[in-house]
Symmetry: C2
C-alpha cells in the first residue's frame, strides 16, 4: 500500500500508533501525551486505536516494550564489538546504557515509572529482560577469563546493573550539573566499575 493512497483500513495501525506515540513522547515528554494526538498523527480517527489497545496505558506499555527491545539490541551490538571476556565488554554495555537512556530520556519514564513496572508483569518478559542476560553472559565470560569460577555471576550482574542504572538516571535527570558542573558521567561510571571490580576480585582472592 502506497503511503499516498488513503484506504478505509489503515493496514498496520497498531505499529503506526506505537511509532506515532514514540515520536510524540520524544518531542514533548510522556506527561502530556494524548491518545488523540497519536491517532491524528497516524491519520485515523480518535476512536480507531481502541481496536488495538485496550486503553492509553496499553499503548504506553507497548512503547515501553519497544524501549526495552532497543536497549537490549544495542547492548548486544556494542558488547560484540569488544574482546570476549574483557572488562571493556562490560564497560561498553554500561556506556551504551547511559547513552541510550540519556538520548531517549522521554522513554525513561515509561520504562522505569508507573508504566514500566507493569510492562514487566506481562507475558513478554523474555524479550524485555533480554538486555540483562546480555550483561550476565558478559560478566560470566569475564570471570571465566579471570579463572575466578566461584563468583556469583547473577549477584554481581545485578550490582553492575544497579551502578550503571544509577549513573544513567542521575545523568538523565539533569541534576548532576548542579553538583558537579564538569562531570563526565560515562567516565565516572567506568572508573566506578573498575574500582568495584577491583574490590570484588580482592575479596575473592582473600577468601582462600
Amino acid at each position: 500500500m502506497s503511503a499516498a493512497v488513503k484506504t478505509y483500513h489503515h493496514g498496520d495501525l497498531r505499529n503506526a500508533m506505537i511509532v506515532a506515540a514514540a515520536e510524540l513522547i520524544e518531542e514533548s515528554g510522556s506527561l502530556g501525551f494524548s491518545m488523540a494526538d497519536a491517532a491524528r498523527r497516524a491519520g485515523v480517527s480518535t476512536a480507531a486505536p481502541y481496536r488495538h489497545f485496550r486503553d492509553k496505558e496499553a499503548l504506553l506499555d507497548a512503547v515501553a516494550q519497544l524501549g526495552f527491545f532497543g536497549l537490549s539490541e544495542s547492548a548486544r551490538r556494542v558488547r560484540d564489538a569488544e574482546a570476549e571476556g574483557s572488562i571493556e565488554a562490560i564497560i561498553a554495555i554500561g556506556k551504551n546504557y547511559i547513552s541510550y537512556v540519556t538520548t531517549k530520556a522521554a522513554f525513561y519514564d515509561l520504562m522505569w515509572g508507573d508504566i514500566g513496572a507493569r510492562a514487566f508483569e506481562a507475558e513478554s518478559f523474555d524479550r524485555k529482560a533480554a538486555g540483562f542476560y546480555v550483561l550476565v553472559d558478559t560478566v560470566r565470560a569475564y570471570f571465566k577469563a579471570q579463572a575466578l569460577s566461584q563468583v556469583n555471576v547473577l549477584d554481581l550482574s545485578i550490582k553492575l546493573w544497579a551502578m550503571v542504572h544509577g549513573f544513567s538516571a542521575i545523568a538523565m535527570s539533569g541534576k548532576l550539573p548542579h553538583f558537579h558542573p564538569d562531570a563526565d558521567v560515562p567516565a565516572m561510571m567506568e572508573a566506578a566499575t573498575r574500582s568495584f571490580m577491583r574490590g570484588v576480585i580482592a575479596e575473592q582472592r582473600n577468601s582462600h
Copy 2:
C-alpha cells in the same frame, strides 16, 4: 480555625493541596492524578487551586519538592545515629535511601521523572539538594578518619549516590524478582558499597 467549621476561605489551601495530592498519588500513582480530585479532597471547588498553582505541573512540582525534603531529613537522622567517620554511616544513608524510595514509590516518578527534572531548575535548589550534601559530609568524615586526604570526595559521593540510586530504582521497579527471586536489595547494596570502597582504597594506596 477548627476543622469542622466551613469558611469561605480555606485558610491554608496551598499546603492542603500538596497533602491531598501526595495522598492521592500514594493511593493511585501519579499517572491518573487529577487536579480536580485533589481539590475535592481538600474540600474546595475545582478552580480554587489555580490561585495557588499555575497549573497541574506546578502542584506536582511542589509534591516532588516535599519528597526531596523528606529524603534529606531522614538521611540526616539515620546518619547521625551512626558513629562519625564510620563506613556504617555511609551505608545507613544508602539503606535509608532505598527504604524511602521503595516505600514512597509513587513519589519516585515525580522526583525522578519529567517533573523531577524541572523541580531542580527552580530557585529552591538548596533545600532539594540538601540530601546529597549530607552524603558528601559523611564521605568526607570517613576519609578523614581513614587518613586518606587526597581522595576527591565530591567525585566519590556522586559514585556512591549513583550506586544507591540504582539499587533503589531497581528495587522499586519491581523487576528484580524476575531475575533473582530472593534478592535482598539493601544487603546487596551494602556488599557492593563495601567492595567499591575497598577497590577505591586499594587504588589510593597503590598510587604512592
